[in-house]
């Protein structure tokens, strides 16, 4: 499964929900499918996309919040999984694209390449709904079910270590930030 295909497959479900992504390939690929004002791309601060999602989910319990995370990022904030699980917001859908590498900085392997299991760690932290999926159909089904589940989930999607040719897009960081804030405060 390619991450870009996985994002495209669930893109129709991202219309009226809050979306927070990590930097690099995830941000560039989602923008290439089509930027929306309800999408925020955390273009640094690796590890904190899930924490930002938690902050939004607690502040706006009536809105669904989707976080598109990565293996390299969540490995920098494994303690954050215990914080997600502790407050287990029903409106938070946490997706981890696991390509077993740090793709945007040379493709060096992460610990998931040698067996570390992010879904198992999330489950052990106390996240009530976890899964690891390997095909596009499995991912689409798991994501759709997570969106309807009404409970905190972490879905790990095993994806190929391929990404876009470039990571810088023409959307300025602060333009994205203020547009997203305005959308959140008017929806």
């Amino acid at each position: 499964m390619k991450r870009a295909d996985a994002l495209a497959a669930v893109y129709p479900q991202l219309g009226d929900v809050v979306v927070v992504t990590i930097m690099g390939a995830v941000a560039a690929e989602l923008q290439s499918i089509g930027h929306r004002p309800n999408f925020f791309y955390l273009q640094h601060a690796m590890g904190l996309a899930s924490s930002m999602g938690l902050g939004i989910a607690l502040a706006r319990p009536e809105k669904t919040v989707v976080v598109f995370d990565g293996d390299g990022s969540i490995l920098m904030n494994l303690g954050g999984l215990t914080t997600l699980a502790r407050y287990r917001p029903k409106n938070l859908v946490h997706v981890v694209f696991d390509n077993e590498s740090l793709l945007s900085v040379g493709g060096f392997p992460t610990a998931t390449a040698t067996g570390s299991d992010i879904a198992a760690m999330a489950a052990a932290a106390g996240v009530p709904r976890t899964a690891t999926v390997r095909t596009l159909d499995e991912f689409t089904k798991a994501f759709t079910e997570a969106m309807r589940a009404g409970e905190l989930s972490t879905t790990v999607a095993k994806v190929e270590a391929v990404g876009p040719a470039a990571f810088v897009t023409d959307l300025a960081l602060l333009e994205n930030r203020f547009e997203f804030q305005r959308w959140l405060r008017t929806h």
């Binding site: 904190l48 930002m52 902050g55 939004i56 607690l58 959140l184």
Partner: protein, 171 residues
């Protein structure tokens, strides 16, 4: 435990009066009363962290969603949060309100707190984070309010240093 309950209450009331409705915290001795006050307050969301840097992301999310928040942490937690402060809060212009217990000042008895104390103010300056000390109860309300005002007008992090003279009753 000679942590001042009365002065913790003054700080907590200042946060409440400033509209703070979410507090992230990692326990440390000087913060115990403040954390309990947040825990006992049905109007406050208390987020207990595994590590302080998470609080930067949580506060950033809360801010964008329209909820005012504050971070309660020790200065060593501030040291542990630097990348999040720089590449989330500063990069994205988030008005972070950080209340940092200033361990390792004059009067510190715990040897393990002394190195962090020695670098706290220089690090705040290096990061261009405006800060002021809270060391007397009578200026807490004003300084908390002014810190919040600057954070919001500048869209940048600010810090309040919770000092020994305010937090600890043994002198």
């Amino acid at each position: 435990m000679p942590v001042s309950t009365a002065n913790s209450r003054v700080i907590y009331d200042a946060l409440k009066n400033g509209g703070i409705r979410l507090v992230s915290a990692l326990p440390e001795t000087w913060l115990v009363h403040l954390i309990r006050m947040a825990e006992d307050d049905p109007e406050m969301t208390l987020v207990r962290l595994a590590k302080e840097e998470e609080g930067v992301g949580i506060s950033a999310g809360a801010h964008l969603a329209g909820v005012k928040s504050a971070m309660l942490m020790q200065n060593h937690g501030f040291l542990a949060s630097v990348n999040g402060i720089v590449s989330c809060a500063q990069l994205y212009r988030i008005p972070l309100l950080m209340l940092i217990s200033y361990r390792g000042e004059f009067g510190e008895r715990d040897p393990w707190q002394t190195e962090g104390g020695g670098v706290t103010e220089d690090l705040l300056r290096a990061l261009r984070i405006p800060f002021v000390s809270l060391d007397r109860a009578d200026h807490v309300a004003t300084r908390v309010r002014k810190a919040q005002t600057l954070a919001q007008s500048a869209n940048r992090p600010v810090a309040l240093l919770l000092c020994r003279d305010l937090m600890w009753e043994e002198g």
